[in-house]
């Protein structure tokens, strides 16, 4: 910088010739009290190089920032612990109970809990604790698989619509609207009627996906639309990149955050839907252990023996709550609007 100031002498010369413009300054003579010349000493505010880079600052990017925010969020910690526990139960139910959930003896019907059977027995004489433990697996698989499929289908359709625009967007968006107009539960009931005999959880997963992908598609579309017009895509094009490469390398990675948010938040609702369908008797057959089915079976004796209904309901509520809390925490951390640039 010093080379810029080599003409200090000129400056003083010039000031002598200066004809002060009355409206701009009143000159030194009429300076008002408190507005005298003031120069801070250099020691107080050391001058840094222009726009210097602080190399000591910890590295950060979207994911590390999000992780840092998450780590401090009590909601995330509670939800995280619960989810880890729920996943563990689903993977290793044998650790918690040694019984077969389908081994029922009528002689134990509605017996109160005792050692080894803390939650007691249901009407059929099945161990409620064991069934609740094994029910975790069904609910969780339906939730996770549906979310996965919904994200894939939704991103594909929404992403293509947003990226290509024009008539492709018009067709795909109307297609999305049509599916959105069908109430998920109603549609699921109608479709599942046809597959009453199947005991595979896949029929539930596919039906929920069929009627659930629309929300993700919409989010993906708007997210792609927004990212598509950002300057770094133009910059890439000017570097010689093709549109398709831009979609894969720039647009989709930048849209992934909002899709993750919508995915985690809706996971809980798929679990609820599965339970609802099983409760209605058109979901999984009674041979497959599921909380919804158990709740349905227990509703008849709700007045006489509410505990049979209580345990699977509580398990369902806690699982759904955990995923919804996780969704909220992830949303706080990843939502582009709450993040500062």
């Amino acid at each position: 910088m010093s080379d810029k100031n080599h003409q200090d002498d000129d400056m003083t010369d010039f000031a002598m010739n200066e004809t002060s413009r009355s409206s701009v300054t009143s000159g030194t003579g009429t300076v008002l009290p408190g507005q005298e010349r003031y120069v801070a000493s250099l020691d107080e505010t050391p001058l840094h190089e222009v726009d210097s880079m602080d190399e000591s600052a910890p590295a950060s990017n979207m994911w590390t920032d999000a992780w840092r925010t998450l780590r401090r969020n009590p909601l995330f910690i509670v939800a995280g612990v619960l989810i880890v526990f729920i996943v563990f139960v689903a993977l290793f139910p044998g650790v918690f109970t040694h019984q077969n959930p389908n081994y029922c003896q009528l002689e134990h019907s509605l017996e109160k809990g005792g050692p080894g059977h803390p939650f007691g027995y249901d009407t059929q004489g099945c161990d409620v604790f064991t069934r609740t433990v094994y029910g975790t697996r069904t609910s969780l698989s339906v939730g996770l698989l549906t979310t996965l499929l919904v994200v894939i289908v939704g991103t594909l359709i929404g992403g293509l619509a947003g990226f290509f625009g024009g008539w492709i967007d018009a067709v795909l968006s109307r297609f999305t609207d049509i599916f959105m107009a069908i109430p998920m539960l109603l549609g699921a009931i109608v479709v599942l009627q046809m597959f009453r005999t199947s005991s595979s959880i896949w029929k539930i997963v596919l039906v929920l996906t069929l009627f659930g992908w629309t929300q993700t598609a919409r989010i993906a579309r708007s997210s792609v639309l927004e990212t598509k017009n950002l300057e770094f895509n133009t910059a890439s094009t000017a570097l010689g990149s093709t549109p398709l490469r831009n979609l894969v390398r720039h647009i989709l990675p930048n849209s992934v955050a909002s899709i993750i948010v919508v995915g985690t938040t809706s996971l809980g609702s798929y679990i609820v839907s599965e339970a609802t369908l099983s409760f209605l008797g058109i979901g999984l057959p009674s041979t497959t252990v599921s909380w919804g089915g158990d709740i349905s079976n227990a509703q008849a004796i709700l007045r006489t023996d509410p505990s049979v209904l209580f345990y699977p309901s509580a398990a369902l509520a806690i699982t759904v709550l955990a995923f919804i809390m996780m969704g909220d925490a992830v949303k706080d951390a990843l939502d582009p609007k709450s993040r500062t640039a």
Partner: protein, 688 residues
């Protein structure tokens, strides 16, 4: 829209020059009344997410006297806006005052509650915010939003309220004889026709005829703005036109009997320089241009006649020509009303031109303050020296004054502009021929010509700047040169070949040689890409080198733009705007291009950072013989970088000459307007 057309009433350059004695009286009065705003050792802290305290403002002191313009100058993050917001009690987020005092008219207000602040905001202190686009509610008419300000402060809409200072000056000068309170009643729109008629008759009776009478009537029509013109002024105008004293007052008393809310709103908007205010007031914000929105905000800020107006970068988002008009107008208006202005800006030239007193802030502290010209001519703190050296407006001013004094200005310039001879001999690397681009506008049949028959050529190793206001079509030209947009007609040739036919490998080769640097440093880098990946991307697309050689190239490029190599692992969100722009330059340089198209590449940056990036571009040109097509709205920057200038207005090329030629002998009025709008143009500067 019609920012160009209005201002015929007040277009008297910048500060209205007061006669010397008035000024003495003014400063005596200021001395007597004491500062209207006195800030002492102000400290403001913010609390971060992890509960750390950040000292945004540290021991800041300054004061503002009635009727004075005081400017706070500093780069972004220097704490200038935070200080102003602390005064207004409008600190955002976790910001809070932790020490020092803020005195408004001698009363301590730093401890005020929100309720107490509501009492003084609007009435005692007004704000003109930075971004006109986001500070008006889009679902309400402009008039509703002005009305809100008047209602919230229970303003008497039928009487003029003047600041103490204005009243005191008027009284001291003795040229206004106010007989009673009602003399400050506003003229209403209902009575206006009657008044004009009576005035015409009175003139006729008084023997004022023909030309003189017509002129007087024309002035009445222009000045007689309902909701802004007062009784005593009407009387005075009549007397000046030749009507007898008693008759003049009789007419004034009969026809000036107070205004309605709508009149007052229109009057306020008219005062702020909005043409056809009564009609405009019924419109919605989206129907206004940026300049008009800013005028509406000025009207709102001044609606309750505050004694202090805080203007937070009021014109930073606007074109320079609009900026000049708005500030000129604001200056005249605040001088008339006796309003003190605390003006916040990052442009030292602008600050010195507008304010009597300058406060320079850096990293939350005041590093220098004093009378503006003195600070500008004898900057003492190294930071102020830097600012003075870097401000483009001042730099081009230095060159002009050197020219005027017959000195060799070459030494002052970073960029040594090539003369006409050199330019003529140079090879044309990019030629634009009769380029036209039309766009289809929604709901309109005819096509909109964004670019209309533009021809020029960029010579190898030189810089051609395209200058124009927003909407002049300059960016559209850039996009067509980059082949990101196809022209409707006309051609762009690169090294003699028409680029419209480029496809496949040929296009890739063209892309390799012509690279862009875009305006928005926050948008042009992919936030998901590390700096390394961003700079490496062009190499990857063109399949150049292996992982190892690419890494080496990225390191070289970072050295080239003077960024530390460690930055490779970081992400764009960790970098400042200027640093990102340097990374964007590094990315553009990765393929060793011949031509770089800079689309407003430095417009979003602080002056110091802007200066740094411009130097970098100049150095690169000198070292590598690059050619630049430099798009900007700021003529001051042009002087620092360009050899040739093309001036565009509404899609057409209006002037094309060498930089010196354009600065010394502008041919078109439009170019002269642009030159005039460079802040600090009228300042006498030392060659420091």
């Amino acid at each position: 829209m019609s920012d160009v057309a209005n201002n015929d009433i007040v277009n008297n350059a910048d500060a209205p020059v007061l006669p010397a004695e008035t000024e003495d009286r003014l400063s005596a009065m200021q001395r007597e009344q004491g500062p209207i705003l006195d800030v002492k050792d102000l400290k403001v802290d913010f609390i971060t997410d992890d509960k750390r305290e950040v000292h945004a403002v540290r021991d800041v002191s300054f004061n503002v006297y009635p009727g004075q313009w005081v400017a706070i100058v500093g780069e972004s993050g220097s704490g200038k806006s935070t200080s102003a917001m602390a005064v207004l009690g409008l600190l955002p987020g976790t910001g809070h005052v932790v020490g020092g005092s803020i005195k408004l008219e001698g009363k301590e207000i730093s401890h005020y509650s929100r309720k107490q602040y509501e009492q003084i905001l609007g009435e005692k202190m007004g704000l003109v915010p930075q971004d006109p686009m986001s500070n008006l509610n889009p679902v309400w008419r402009i008039s509703t939003q002005v009305k809100e300000a008047l209602k919230a402060n229970h303003m008497d809409i039928s009487h003029e309220k003047r600041s103490k200072l204005a009243a005191a000056i008027a009284e001291a000068e003795g040229d206004i004889n106010l007989k009673n309170v009602d003399d400050e009643t506003f003229l209403g729109s209902k009575e206006l026709p009657g008044l004009l008629e009576a005035a015409a008759t009175a003139l006729d009776k008084a023997g004022v005829r023909d030309g003189a009478a017509e002129r007087a009537m024309a002035r009445f029509k222009q000045e007689g703005v309902p909701g802004s013109e007062t009784r005593w002024r009407v009387a005075e105008e009549l007397i000046k036109a030749g009507v007898g004293d008693d008759e003049a007052w009789r007419i004034a008393k009969k026809y000036v009997i107070g205004s309605t809310m709508d009149d007052r709103i229109a009057g306020l908007l008219d005062e702020a320089g909005l043409p056809d205010a009564a009609t405009r007031a019924r419109q919605y914000p989206y129907e206004f241009s940026g300049g008009m929105l800013q005028r509406a905000l000025i009207a709102i800020g001044l609606a309750c006649r505050p004694d202090l107006l805080i203007a937070d970068e009021p014109t930073s988002a606007l074109d320079v020509t609009v900026q000049k008009k708005i500030l000129d107008h604001l200056h005249t208006l605040t001088d008339e009303l006796g309003t003190a202005v605390l003006f916040i800006t990052h442009d030292l030239g602008l600050a010195a031109e507008r304010a009597q007193h300058i406060v320079v802030m850096y990293k939350g502290q005041v590093v220098e303050s004093g009378p503006s010209l003195e600070v500008l001519q004898h900057p003492q703190h190294p930071y102020t020296k830097r600012l003075v050296a870097a401000a483009p407006s001042l730099a081009s001013q230095r060159i002009i004054s050197a020219h005027e004094r017959g000195e060799n200005a070459e030494a002052l310039m970073e960029h040594h502009a090539k003369g006409e001879d050199t330019l003529e001999k140079s090879e044309h690397i990019i030629t634009v021929n009769h380029l036209t681009r039309e766009f289809k506008l929604p709901r309109k049949k005819e096509m909109f010509k964004a670019v209309d028959d533009v021809s020029f050529s960029v010579k190898r190793g030189t810089t051609l700047a395209i200058v124009g206001e927003s909407g002049s079509g300059k960016s559209t030209v850039a996009n067509m040169v980059l082949k990101l947009l196809e022209p409707t007609s006309g051609t762009v040739t690169y090294e003699g070949e028409d680029i419209s036919g480029f496809k496949g490998a040929k296009l890739l080769d063209f892309r390799r040689h012509v690279q862009p640097v875009f305006q928005n440093p926050y948008g042009s880098l992919d936030p998901m890409y590390s700096i390394y990946r961003s700079i490496e991307e062009p190499l990857r697309i063109h399949g150049i080198g292996d992982a190892k050689s690419r890494r080496k190239r990225v390191e070289e490029l970072l050295d080239l733009v003077k960024m530390p190599r460690s930055v490779m692992q970081r992400y764009p969100n960790e970098l400042s705007g200027g640093q990102r722009q340097r990374i964007a330059v590094a990315r553009a340089m990765a393929l060793d291009p011949d031509v770089i198209v800079c689309d407003e590449a430095v417009s979003a940056l602080d002056v110091l950072v802007q200066d740094q990036v411009l130097r970098l571009l100049n150095d690169l040109q000198a070292e590598r013989g690059l050619s630049y097509l430099f798009i900007t709205h700021d003529l001051a920057v042009v002087r620092q970088i360009a050899d040739e200038v093309v001036v565009m207005q509404k899609g057409r090329l209006v002037e094309h000459a060498t930089t010196d030629e354009v600065f010394d002998h502008p041919q078109q009025q439009y170019t002269r307007d642009l030159l005039d709008a460079i802040p600090g143009g009228k300042l006498k500067l030392g060659l420091d």
